[in-house]
């Protein structure tokens, strides 16, 4: 599965990259929202994992851009420290497919990612 990760925390990047690659995914990392949106056409991801608070473009803007470009596919998982109800609701209204708050369990993320893998297998 091709996964595009948008995250600005270096330690988180290392952990996510390691975990996702270990699960057999093809991972591309971007350090901000703008870079993630720019990568969409080149990389054509099957899944996007994004933080919310990032430089240049927020994760919510990344969600909008992904859903605009791929209206029927490419799920987006938000992985953010912001757990406030209004932010979560806004993310889902914009089309986010899943929302995980930090601190998060890497094992749980792995399972959630796998959930989006199933339709591809079919």
């Amino acid at each position: 599965m091709k996964i595009l990760v948008a995250e600005d925390d270096q330690l988180m990047i290392k952990m996510l990259e390691f975990r996702l690659k270990k699960d057999g995914h093809d991972v591309v990392i971007t350090n901000d929202g703008r870079a993630a949106v720019q990568k969409l056409d080149d990389f054509q991801p099957d899944l996007v994992i994004t933080d919310i608070m990032m430089p240049y473009l927020s994760g919510l803007e990344v969600v909008s851009a992904v859903k605009k470009r791929y209206p029927t596919g490419t799920p987006v998982i938000i992985l953010s420290g912001m757990g406030q109800e209004n932010v979560v609701l806004e993310a889902f209204q914009l089309g986010a497919d899943d929302y995980m708050t930090k601190p998060f369990s890497p094992n749980e993320l792995s399972v959630r990612v796998r959930r989006f893998e199933a339709p591809l297998v079919k």
Partner: protein, 367 residues
């Protein structure tokens, strides 16, 4: 003929110029040496730091994904290289590793987070933190408490208790937050003994921490008797937020506290926890109160006031303070359904200033 004096003065100027020039050259050389040696040591340190970062990253990655690794079977210790173990004696490396472990621990939960704690203990970093608790420098104590809290070192909660009334406010804050983190509402028992004030910021922080926990019906009555006003204020906030109606008479007793800030918080609290006697409790104490608390009482009477308070509120329309007058008129209208009728009737028999207030309140109601 050139005079001797002239020659001497030329020589002396030339001499001074040379000394200045030599000084400048020496200064430039000194700066150059300083810059070069700084760059050299910085590059040595950066290289060392990069190596340490790599070692630290590997250790953390190993711990976070330990359950996935084959070598975990039959051995509970997270594999640590001899080099990493040797580096544990280096305080700069330890500092880097601890910061990285803490940062990772803040971001993850579950088995991975447990493994990070395991690594932290396995490397003996908890012992260093415990040692730092008795440091003479407050920021080292505060950092140690924060570290043990983030790393969920519940086993050290008794040691952390000792710092909940530390003379330094930041150390106290960290220790009090740690107790809530570890013991939930039971952690609030530091309020039994705390003598230093709990700042407003700290109160907000503690309430925010508690908001993530399921409410618990803990005994708070003794905190109303504390000699520390901030403890009573914080208890009043807890009573208000957690709707502790069982504490009603304790809250009312705070209306007679010598500290006006405690009385103010009690008035505010009675806006949420009240009976039909609350307005009487206010009225009997109104004249003895400071202006700020009088205004607060009138504001709360918008909620707790009844028909029996109409005369008291009408009487306040003749008060010398305009804020009290407007507040009383507002309370009159808000607290009972015939309030506006009473107000209009009273204004017809009164002076122009009361009519203006009535018009103002009518405008508010219409809006």
């Amino acid at each position: 003929m050139v005079s001797k004096a002239y020659l001497l003065s030329v020589f002396s100027i030339w001499h001074i110029q040379n000394i200045v020039l030599a000084g400048i050259i020496l200064l430039i050389l000194g700066l150059l040496v300083y810059m070069l040696s700084y760059m050299y040591f910085k590059s040595v340190y950066d290289k060392k730091f990069d190596k340490w970062s790599l070692i630290s990253d590997l250790l953390i990655r190993k711990a976070v994904f330990y359950d996935d690794e084959e070598e975990s079977e039959g051995d509970s210790a997270i594999p640590v290289t001899a080099r990493a173990e040797k580096l544990m004696d280096n305080k700069h490396f330890r500092k880097l590793l601890i910061n990285e472990i803490m940062s990772a621990k803040r971001s993850i939960t579950g088995i991975s987070a447990d493994n990070l704690k395991h690594l932290y203990v396995q490397l003996g970093l908890d012992k260093y933190a415990l040692g730092n608790l008795s440091s003479g420098r407050w920021y080292i104590r505060a950092k140690a408490i924060q570290e043990l809290t983030i790393m969920s070192m519940h086993e050290f909660v008794d040691q952390l208790c000792l710092y909940a009334d530390d003379k330094n406010d930041l150390v106290r804050m960290e220790a009090q937050s740690a107790l809530i983190q570890f013991n939930g509402f039971d952690g609030l028992h530091f309020l039994d003994t705390v003598t230093y004030p709990i700042s407003n910021w700290q109160q907000i922080k503690l309430l925010q921490q508690l908001s993530h926990l399921p409410p618990a019906n803990i005994d708070m009555t003794q905190w109303f008797k504390s000699d520390n006003s901030s403890v009573i204020i914080f208890t009043l906030k807890l009573a208000r937020i957690y709707q502790r109606f069982d504490l009603y008479y304790d809250i009312v007793s705070c209306l007679d506290h010598p500290d006006p800030l405690v009385r103010y918080e009690a008035i505010h609290c009675l806006n949420e926890i009240y009976t039909d006697e609350t307005s009487d409790d206010f009225i009997s104490r109104f004249l003895g109160e400071i202006l700020k608390n009088q205004l607060a009482m009138i504001k709360v009477m918008e909620t707790v006031g009844t028909e029996k308070d109409v005369l008291f509120l009408l009487d306040l329309l003749n008060h010398e303070n305009d804020e009290i007058k407007i507040g009383a008129a507002r309370a009159l209208v808000q607290s009972n359904k015939d309030g506006m009728v009473s107000l209009e009737k009273y204004s017809k028999e009164s002076n122009d200033s009361i009519n203006e207030i009535v018009m103002h309140i009518k405008g508010e109601v219409a809006a």
